[in-house]
Amino acid sequence: MILAIQTLQHFAVDGICAANLARYAIDEEFFDQIVLYFGIYNLIAFGTQWLMGLAIDRKFIGIKIAFGISIATLTLGSIQSLGIMNQAILLGIGNSIFHVAGGSLVLNRYQTFKELGIFVSSGAIGLALGLNGIVGFEIFLPLYWALTILFLKRFHGELELPIQTESIQREDPKTLAMLICAILLLSCIVLRGFGRGVPTEFVMLFPCVLAIGKSLGGFVCDRFGFRRTILAILLIGTVAIQFEGLAPILILTLALNMTMPLTLRLVHWCNPKFPGMMFGLAAGCLLPGAFFHESIPPQVTVTIQFLTLFIAGYLIQKFAREDFDARYRTSYSGN
């Protein structure tokens, strides 16, 4: 239930921000102004998450306060008379603080991958509905209010959970190995940030594929294990690249987005005492893709994603979490 509400909240928050920015963009005649304010929003929404996360991890900001700040800033950010600059800043702050508060709760409450996949999946749908003007902020904002009030009333006592490190972390995790692991995972996220869809007449097609991919990645990983999942992603991606047309691009997009819950969970395991900051760092790695529209050959993306996840998984299993993916130890037993 708590996960369902958080997933809907994520949908609403991304929808509020996108709908407000779209409302501004429709009336703005200069394209460079649109780019500027979208850039400011992105910079704050993605670039400050690690800082907000650190504040939440260090208990400078409680989870309930964080949700309160997000409600206040998103509501103020929806007031057009404040001016687009103030709106972009307020929406960015609201978005940022919601993501790390929600993300650190999910990271702490669960130890598997599917919950993360479900939580992050709904954002793409809200974003697309808002940006394309299909649903306005008038719908998203009351929805977020209602969900947050329900969330805070219903789960009042469950929000300040102790950080679960004992069960997932060896007593002497190797700091250097975890640092290398985190760098590998974050570079994998940077690479994924450069992924682009192609224009189609169905505006919701790619967002739906993104959402399905993110959810599916978590379920597949929980069911079949980390190593098999990244292998499947590599093989699906390799096959999809060989063909032309919309369907292979959709399959490739689906496969690449399946890595999202995997990277988030492993980034968290690199430094489990700081779930908010690690979630925020992962989000910050999407910034280069938001600002630089370089085209990276899909072969490079598929290969590097596999290799970074493979090596990171190995490092986690060897240096931090011995029970991670039993298949690391048993895969040769049949030979």
Partner: protein, 100 residues
């Protein structure tokens, strides 16, 4: 693209056998890995202006990729790594002779 990948697999798999990985299962998997890595490598090289350093860096990535994939069915060892380096070197040299 697939024909080049199959040709590479045809060169590398017998070498893999000669280096001591003789089980039929190993050879099938290794051939599959070769096809995957070559489809990715040649697809990438097709999209860029050819430079020698890019080829060399790409080959290094192919070796790492093939070694990682081999660990799914063979216990990782120095022998396995050396074998993969040797088979890739052989196919690279042969490929350069054939195509240039």
């Amino acid at each position: 693209m697939l024909d080049i990948a199959l040709l590479t697999a045809a060169i590398e798999t017998p070498l893999f056998f000669l280096f001591g990985f003789k089980k039929f299962r190993y050879l099938i998997f290794f051939a599959g890995i070769n096809i995957v890595s070559n489809l990715l490598l040649n697809g990438f090289l097709d999209q860029i202006d050819f430079e020698w350093w890019i080829l060399i860096v790409s080959e290094i990535f192919v070796v790492i990729l093939e070694f990682s994939l081999c660990t799914y069915f063979i216990e990782p060892s120095r022998k396995l790594f050396r074998t993969i380096v040797a088979t890739n070197l052989a196919s690279l040299i042969l490929g350069l002779i054939i195509f240039y």
